[in-house]
């Protein structure tokens, strides 16, 4: 059961999507996690719940609303058209945007936990040693929260690799643009090509297992899986 060129294309697209999404999520998720970990605002609960919604929401529900929002009648759709970006559904960019929302909680929560576990003390110590808040963030906060960032990156990446429902709703099944591994497995099964489906499915299974193995190894030292 050799992988076909279409299969390889799906693998490459999936890795591209997940890598890009993970990088963007670390950039977007860090300030959100920082705010959630440290704010005393009453909005904290609401924002925290919104960020966490994708954990419990069926991906099809999320995908459906994103489709509506990004479509020609949706607020986001009109906005992107006005900017001359065109419509996002059924494009790689649309998939990236949807994946970011879909995987956000998996990145925000480990980072937020790491920030909270660290407490105020290291920040206060840094301030008494003349470090500005910005310098403190880069020289104290980030290094101390590193295990949280590793966990966040792994979870965000793996979760994006595994997504199906959102892609189905918003990306469709366009070769080289939106056809990721999970779609390709679905295609093979639909066409009764079980051997081909096995090739990709077994690969994903092994990948997931290795990711979790790595995570628990880190978790033993840091929190997730090891328990704090």
């Amino acid at each position: 059961m050799e992988l076909t060129p279409e299969d390889w294309s799906a693998v490459r697209l999936t890795l591209e999507l997940s890598t890009l999404v993970t990088v963007l999520l670390l950039i977007i998720g860090t300030p959100i996690a920082w705010w959630l970990a440290r704010t005393r605002s009453r909005l904290r609960g609401v924002i925290g719940a919104v960020v966490s919604l994708p954990i419990v929401l069926p991906p099809t529900v999320l995908g459906f609303y994103l489709l509506v929002l990004m479509g020609p009648q949706g607020a986001v759709g009109r906005f992107t058209e006005a900017l001359g970006l065109g419509r996002l559904p059924f494009t790689f960019t649309g998939l990236v945007v949807a994946s970011i929302i879909y995987s956000l909680p998996f990145v925000v929560q480990p980072i937020q936990n790491a920030f909270m576990a660290m407490g105020d003390r290291p920040l206060e110590v840094a301030a008494t040693l003349r470090a500005s808040p910005l310098a403190t963030f880069f020289t104290v906060t980030l290094p101390l929260a590193r295990p949280g960032f590793i966990t966040a990156a792994i979870l965000g990446f793996a979760h994006t690799v595994g997504e199906f429902g959102v892609v189905l709703m918003i990306g469709g099944n366009i070769p080289d643009k939106t056809r990721v591994i999970s779609m390709q497995i679905y295609n093979h099964v639909e066409a009764m090509e079980y051997g081909q489906a096995h090739g990709l499915a077994a690969g994903l299974l092994a990948f997931s297992f290795i990711v979790l193995l790595g995570l628990y190894a880190v978790g033993g030292r840091n929190g997730l899986g090891g328990g704090r």
Partner: protein
């Protein structure tokens, strides 16, 4: 505008009470903030550091760090201070050396008054530099934390019960270093403590706090001998006497320590004649006799005059404040003896001192 000394006016609502301190403290030496747990000592220190934001004014030897009237509030990282926290607060992701450099590298070369060698030597941490922080003992961590604070050449050193988290052996290990800080640095130190022992050993000036209010503020020796302060009620009520070595007695192996109230003999110490020595004399080690005739084994007998009486912890006892040539002494005796001897204010007596502790 520039005035020497430390001026603090801080009002800060806390959970159970409002911290309300208006203090004028000496701009040099060690000032201890003393009081029971939860009396607002740490909060006051945090106000000085800018870690808490009180209403009021903070001025350190003419430098204004906060003044609400002038809308000045320097954030902590712009205040030239050093802060030693109660528990070891070293950065876990950095080696000892990198911890020390963390603050140092943010100080302009021209501002560096405390050198690397000096700080490392003063706290005896030369052999620890290349270790990680996890491998250090509690006492070593705290010494590194103190050196790290010193290396920023602070104009004020704030220490929040730096010994509280340590067992008594580690305390004894660090106290000499703190005494050296006191003797060798010109930097004023605000030192939070609830240990009378530490205060007696280290502090020149004492601030008593209770429920966020300043009960008393003054030179340590003076405050310790006051009968109206809660210090006197303590089991360990004691006074401090600053003396100088006036000579040694080779035959009996004694050292003579002189002060305005007389001479106190202690077992021979390796101190040079003229050296300063601070004695702590506990009230329970002082008894009172009416005549000067020596019919006991007690060596140190000083003429003194009774200046007042106060309550002791136990109702059977009372505290007698004595004046020995201008130096206050406290004696704790039973109320029975007081009445049998007919002790009253103004009466000349002999203070018999059973034992003294040499502090520094």
């Amino acid at each position: 505008m520039s005035e020497a000394g430390i001026q603090l006016q801080c009002r800060l609502p806390l959970a159970d009470f409002t911290l309300d301190a208006d203090l004028n403290l000496p701009g040099r030496g060690v000032t201890a903030l003393f009081g029971p747990s939860g009396s607002g000592k740490t909060s006051l220190l945090r106000c000085v550091a800018g870690l808490a934001r009180p209403a009021g004014r903070v001025e350190i030897n003419g430098e204004c760090w906060q003044d609400n009237a002038r809308r000045i509030f320097l954030p902590t990282h712009r205040r030239p201070l050093g802060y030693v926290f109660q528990e070891a607060s070293l950065f876990a992701h950095l080696s000892v050396r990198a911890n020390l450099e963390f603050g140092l590298k943010r100080i302009a070369a021209a501002e560096r008054k405390v050198g690397w060698e000096a700080a490392v030597e003063l706290l005896g941490i030369g052999h620890l530099l290349d270790r990680g922080t996890a491998a250090l003992s509690g006492g070593e961590r705290q010494r590194v934390a103190i050196a790290r604070a010193l290396l920023t050449s602070p104009r004020l050193l704030l220490m929040d019960e730096p010994l509280a988290a340590l067992d008594s052996r580690r305390k004894q290990e660090i106290l000499p270093y703190l005494e050296r800080l006191h003797d060798e640095l010109a930097t004023p130190i605000l030192y939070v403590s609830h240990s009378p022992d530490e205060v007696a050993r280290l502090a020149d000036h004492l601030v008593l706090l209770e429920q966020g209010k300043v009960v008393a503020s003054g030179p340590t020796a003076e405050l310790l001998a006051r009968l109206d302060l809660p210090l006197a009620l303590d089991e360990d009520a004691a006074v401090l006497v600053d003396t100088r070595v006036v000579g040694h007695d080779d035959d009996y192996q004694l050292t003579r320590l002189g002060f305005p109230g007389g001479v106190i003999k202690v077992t021979r110490k390796a101190l040079e004649v003229g050296a300063r020595a601070r004695l702590k004399i506990q009230a329970r080690d002082v008894s009172i006799a009416l005549s000067g005739e020596n019919q006991s084994s007690i060596v140190n007998r000083l003429p003194a005059r009774i200046v007042g009486f106060g309550d002791a912890a136990h109702p059977a006892q009372c505290l007698v404040r004595l004046d020995a040539g201008g130096t206050p002494l406290l004696a704790r005796i039973t109320r029975l003896s007081k009445d049998q001897l007919g002790l009253r204010e103004g009466l000349p007596v002999v203070a018999q001192i059973k034992s003294v502790a040499l502090l520094a």
